[in-house]
Symmetry: C2
């Protein structure tokens, strides 16, 4: 591996990207499951197709993809598989089939029982990060599909989160789910303590009977006092940011029905098939990953924006932030050398059209800007035809404007309609120039339903996996998250210990100052 | 002006930034109004203090600041003032005092009247971008302060937004506010049309009597059919992204009381005083701007993250995205030359601790990372002491970790506790190295109340203004927003026109394809 930038394949790839036209003139739309992925405005050329294939080969893409689906220990720093695809396969791989099917049956049985007995009108889900964004996104964006129960989410350790989540609910009719892979997540345990107090204050004699745990550490859940039949397990080979496919999907099943959870999985499985079987050139996750690497590592875009033109997909932004930034935010390659090309763009975004009135100015006229992933639903789930036409028109218009830009001559012609002084007009026109040539991807879903959402999530999962392969990094660990947790524990003890001597603080002067100043008591 | 990078002051500034230590050893905490702004972990040195002052002088900072407060036409591409400070001054400047006081009295009178008559239990606010984020942020984050009415916001033209906002409300008891500076904003007008239908379907005979307009185009509001006493005006010298200080604050007054709106303004006015009077070295907005320019233009950070450790400040992120990216996302200097240093970082973020489980991995271990603005409230508004202690501990820990990092030696010692094979331990340790030396700012508010929130917003406003001065660009126009709007109108007509000939489309092949495919009918 060593210095990626010095390899033959990288040099050819980089050269082909730089030499490709900024305003491609041909259509390039890939069909993946039922989604259409339009890459027409990303860099493309015959030379780039060849160079991209060579880079994928050099980085061992086909083997890595096979390892992913076969449950090989591709999370090499933790020596384990990343086998989320096993959880949504129509037939789980034999090595884990028994465990997966047993858990899925246990979960389905639980949902069936509480539905039959009409239990728990309210569900409060305690989880954070990977245990939170997936279910939150699905429940919010698919709310139109059912709605048997009120489902609320509390993630933050800021007590306003749990307070708001419990407010107005009837404790006797409320189920609390603790979702935590390790069952040591401080946020979820602190919020669980609040929920126990709240249940007890609301007259529930056995608060823990209202709890369910979803975890890879069943022993800790038992010790916490949760009943055996209320403990749902997943395994260390399911990463937190892929855990929506495991029993972490329970709030989806409780809120929107077991069918919804099954359809989500079916849509993801369809995308798995595409990722496994489509040729490299027609493979949407692969081509999206290649564009991402071209944009970030060659063209110098340090971030990209996600703009779903559907207000229901609001939580797709944090879900993707976690998937991309927690997976790719690292720079040590497998052999221990430091990756020597820019990698892992920051991800941010907002649904359109809100985003147009928030940061599109920057996308159009900043000196650099950023690529954009646009997402559209062809068919709306409401009858407001004009609203939907406006939504589509705005999405296409922003994308066209980013590509086309506006030249000085065009700006001058525009300004000169009002400003008759040629010098003044020229001065103003300079401020209205848009460079154009800015790349974007457009994903068109037939409509927003569980299957399409499942396919969309799997599309991005495989895109990120492929980026990991191209950059030679492990997308499945997160040592940077562990580090901060340890420091927080130490600082919490210092904040709590009255009279602890700040002079012996191992921290920088500013941290020491605030620990002293904000200590309780 | 011309090439900024070639000026003496820029060269000295740039050199001083690069030469300053990455881990400063001294405290640098500025007090601004009642906020404390800790810049201890930003680049700093005696040479940088001198160079920064020279750069401010070269770029005409003091004159620009005076122009801002005096209402000079500093929005030079539109030849008008940007006089939002006049709206919150204890005594408005004489040139506009009459108009400002009359509007403020009209608004206060309206609020008093509807309160006295107990009118409108529900308020639905239709506005987008600058007409939306400010009131939405204030109403959401200060909800604990009053709550006389249900206030909902609909901004997006996606019909799910207005549908959700109206759902479950009693039309006879609902007031609709259209907030639009131009009164031509397509999102707000389309949503207003839905609201009229909804009121009528709900038995309201004169739907327009339930409407209020806040606009700089009163004539259009009159033509729309809104009663004269329900039209509140502001002026072309109030930019959309500063309009919370105008009558756009109406939903705040209706939802949280007139006192809340007044306190917000008072807090901002306190920050105005600080910005006007503090020395440059003790001036928080000025020093934050200098750090931002150092980070972006010299140290190469293309974005920064905003992490308020308070779940209630969730909407501060999009509010700041708009303020920063719409104000600074441009690169033409006053004299028409193109700015030749990197400018205007992308802004993104999320409240802590959610953010720790979403993108802090990237902040710690990505090859580059990004600076972070942390915000803490010293005193919580709840009784969950341990939760608040955990929140503070996590905020301080992340900041300390970003600064300190973890060396290979430290990582190796850690790994070797479990992995006894030295070669394997060394290989794993490489993946746990954290570079450290990553800058951040910590803003500590005594607690979250209207005055502190007002001061916080004004702090960022003046920071962004100062960045505009340092980069020599006009932060008060937004030509990139206008451009997209025009294209959207054209594409909407094409989507609507059955049988329009796609062969004559003036757009790129991809846009033409989707217009054809997604056209209605």
């Amino acid at each position: 591996m060593s210095a990626l930038s010095q390899t033959t394949a990288w040099k050819s790839f980089s050269h082909a990207v730089s030499a490709s036209p900024t305003k491609p003139a041909t259509l390039r739309i890939l069909r993946a499951a039922e989604l259409e992925v339009d890459l027409s405005t990303q860099r493309h050329s015959p030379a780039l197709v060849i160079a991209a294939r060579a880079l994928l080969n050099q980085q061992g893409f086909e083997q890595a993809r096979a390892d992913l689906f076969e449950g090989a220990p591709i999370n090499w720093t933790e020596n384990r598989a990343a086998w989320h695809t096993a959880l949504r396969a129509p037939t789980p791989p034999s090595r884990v089939a028994h465990a997966v099917q047993a858990e899925q049956a246990k979960l389905a049985g639980f949902v069936e029982r509480v539905n039959a007995q009409n239990l728990y009108r309210n569900v409060v889900h305690l989880g954070i990060g990977g245990s939170d964004w997936g279910p939150r996104l699905a429940v919010e964006s698919l709310a139109g599909h059912a709605g048997r129960r009120t489902i609320r989410f509390a993630s933050n350790v800021d007590a306003h989160a749990i307070t708001a989540a419990l407010e107005g609910l009837d404790p006797s009719d409320t189920l609390i789910i603790i979702s935590s892979k390790s069952f040591t997540t401080i946020e979820s345990l602190a919020n669980a303590a609040c929920a126990i107090d709240w249940l007890r204050a609301g007259g529930v004699k056995q608060p823990l009977d209202h709890f369910v745990a979803v975890t890879a550490n069943a022993q800790a859940a038992r010790e916490f006092g949760i009943r055996e039949e209320h403990i749902f397990e997943f395994w260390d080979w399911v990463g937190g940011r892929y855990s929506i496919w495991s029993s972490i999907g329970l709030p989806i099943a409780l809120g929107l029905g077991m069918d919804t959870l099954n359809d989500l999985r079916a849509g993801a499985a369809q995308m798995d098939e595409h990722f496994l079987n489509a040729t490299l050139e027609e493979n949407a996750p692969v081509q999206m990953a290649l564009s991402a690497v071209a944009n970030c590592s060659v063209l110098g875009y340090a971030s990209f924006a996600l703009c779903p033109y559907d207000a229901r997909l609001r939580h797709l932004v944090p879900w993707l932030q976690q998937l991309e930034m927690e997976s790719l935010g690292k720079s040590t390659q497998r052999d221990g050398t430091t990756l020597d090309v820019a990698s892992s763009p920051a991800v941010w975004g907002m649904p359109g059209t809100d985003s147009q009135h928030t940061f599109f100015q920057w996308l159009h006229q900043d000196g650099k800007g950023a690529p954009v992933d646009f997402i559209l639903c062809a068919k709306p789930d409401h009858r407001h035809t004009r609203h939907h036409r406006l939504l589509i028109a705005n999405c296409l218009a922003q994308r066209a404007a980013l590509l086309e830009g506006k030249s000085f001559e065009q700006a001058l012609a525009e300004v000169s309609l009002k400003e008759k002084n040629p010098q003044a007009a020229a001065a103003l026109a300079k401020h209205r120039v848009h460079p154009g040539g800015r790349p974007s991807t457009l994903i068109v879903m037939p409509q927003l339903d569980p299957k399409q959402l499942g396919a969309l999530l799997a599309l991005y999962e495989h895109k990120v996996f492929t980026e990991g392969v191209l950059w030679g990094i492990n997308p499945f660990d997160q040592w940077g998250v562990e580090f901060g947790k340890r420091l927080a524990g130490d600082i919490e003890r210092r904040l709590d210990a009255l009279g602890s001597d700040p002079a012996v603080s191992p921290y920088d002067p500013s941290t020491a100052h605030w620990v002293r100043k904000l200590a309780s008591g």
